[in-house]
């Protein structure tokens, strides 16, 4: 658990220093004629920080974190519980890390190509955009990594206190909220039917994630004909009212 907290602190520090380096690089790029040293300083600092952070993370934290990760995965498999790592966020973060690194590398190549020559405005602009994206990417990656670390420590806390965190089997709350748009004369029976089919047929057959997707689809697809029928009925009433008056 201590390792997780340290890892989280390291990530924060890395994020903030990376962003500072990014800002330096951008500033150096904007006022390239006078302050190109800022760009070089930013890039070199970032390289140094990444190297130090990687060594620190590996030597002191990841060595403890990886076995914890494996242990959590094993426990989840055994208990049939939701694993905090196997989420879309993890995949997204991995992709964002790769994208950020690629962007940063492209920014550097672009700024190298831009050096000195007069016809290199395009490269300079491109490198600027890449660097800005890199800063955004860094913020995004670190925020999500921190979220994962948070979730993992929460998961371990829950396991320690003897509770097994399960994936929610309730229908999606916002979809249920949308069902308030269903005309009142259908609402009660339709919601009842949806809940019964969800809990008795769809959930056991497809699992919570796909069942929730099914629920969303049913709600959205049901709203269209019901609201349309109600609108037509009301339009009909208006026509009758006008003709009678």
């Amino acid at each position: 658990m201590v390792a997780l907290r340290q890892y989280q602190r390291l990530l924060f520090t890395f994020a903030i220093t990376s962003i500072a380096c990014g800002v330096l690089m951008v500033a150096g790029n904007i006022w390239r004629s006078r302050m190109h040293w800022m760009h070089t300083l930013g890039f070199l600092s970032w390289l140094g920080i990444t190297a130090i952070a990687s060594v620190l993370a590996y030597r002191y934290l990841l060595k403890e974190f990886i076995p914890t990760y494996e242990k959590v995965e094993e426990i989840c498999l055994f208990l049939g519980a939701r694993c905090p790592f196997k989420t879309a966020t993890t995949k997204l973060v991995a992709r964002a890390v790769v994208a950020s690194l690629l962007l940063c590398a492209s920014a550097e190549i672009a700024s190298l190509l831009a050096g000195g020559s007069k016809s290199t405005l395009l490269f300079r602009e491109a490198s600027l955009i890449f660097e800005m994206t890199f800063i955004g990417g860094a913020i995004f990656v670190v925020r999500n990594l921190v979220k994962i670390v948070h979730r993992t420590s929460g998961f371990l806390d829950e396991l320690e206190s003897g509770r097994i965190p399960q994936e929610s089997t309730n229908p999606p709350r916002w979809a249920k909220f949308l069902l308030l748009l269903v005309p009142r004369r259908y609402r009660e029976h339709l919601i009842g039917d949806l809940e019964e089919e969800y809990s008795q047929i769809v959930l056991p057959e497809f699992g919570p994630r796909r069942a929730r997707l099914w629920y969303w689809w049913q709600v959205l697809a049901s709203l269209i004909p019901l609201v349309w029928a109600e609108a037509k009925r009301l339009a009909g009433l208006v026509v009758i009212w006008k003709s009678v008056r």
Binding site: V182, Y186, E188, H189, L190, I191, G192, D193, L194, E195, E196, E197, S199, Q200, I201, W217, Q218, A221, S222, L223, I224, P225, L226, A229, G236, V239, I240
Partner: protein, 123 residues
């Protein structure tokens, strides 16, 4: 206006022709008998007829059939598996059965002689 015209066509003797989905829904109600309520009809349509639809579309069709006088409905007791909500049971009426019979007969008449073109009688 539509309601008045439809009532007139029914009083002329012949029931109003059914749409394809309406016929399927009526058949599902007939098949399920006393257990015909929204979720069961929906499931029956999906498993037996292979027809996917939303519950909203099913309810609007059932409502239309009820307005035409082809089915009647009554509300059952609330149950816990539905979060304390009541079921709405549907029952086919004599006019509905007649309309379904007429629609089915028309389909059969049209299909007679074209089975080989549709790949044999197995369909």
């Amino acid at each position: 206006m539509f309601y008045i015209v439809s009532m007139q066509s029914r009083t002329n003797g012949k029931p109003e022709p059914l749409g394809e989905f309406e016929a399927l829904v009526l058949m599902a109600v007939l098949r399920l008998g006393s257990d015909a309520y929204g979720m069961r009809i929906h499931h029956e349509l999906e498993t037996t007829a292979g027809r996917r639809c939303s519950l909203g579309a099913l309810y609007t069709t059932l409502d239309r059939l009820e307005t035409k006088g082809y089915v009647s409905s009554h509300v059952g007791e609330p149950t816990s598996e539905r979060g304390g909500r009541a079921k709405k049971f549907f029952e086919i009426r004599a006019t509905g059965a007649a309309a379904l019979k007429q629609s089915y007969a028309a389909t059969l008449r049209m299909a007679r002689g074209i089975e080989p073109l549709l790949g044999g009688a197995s369909w």
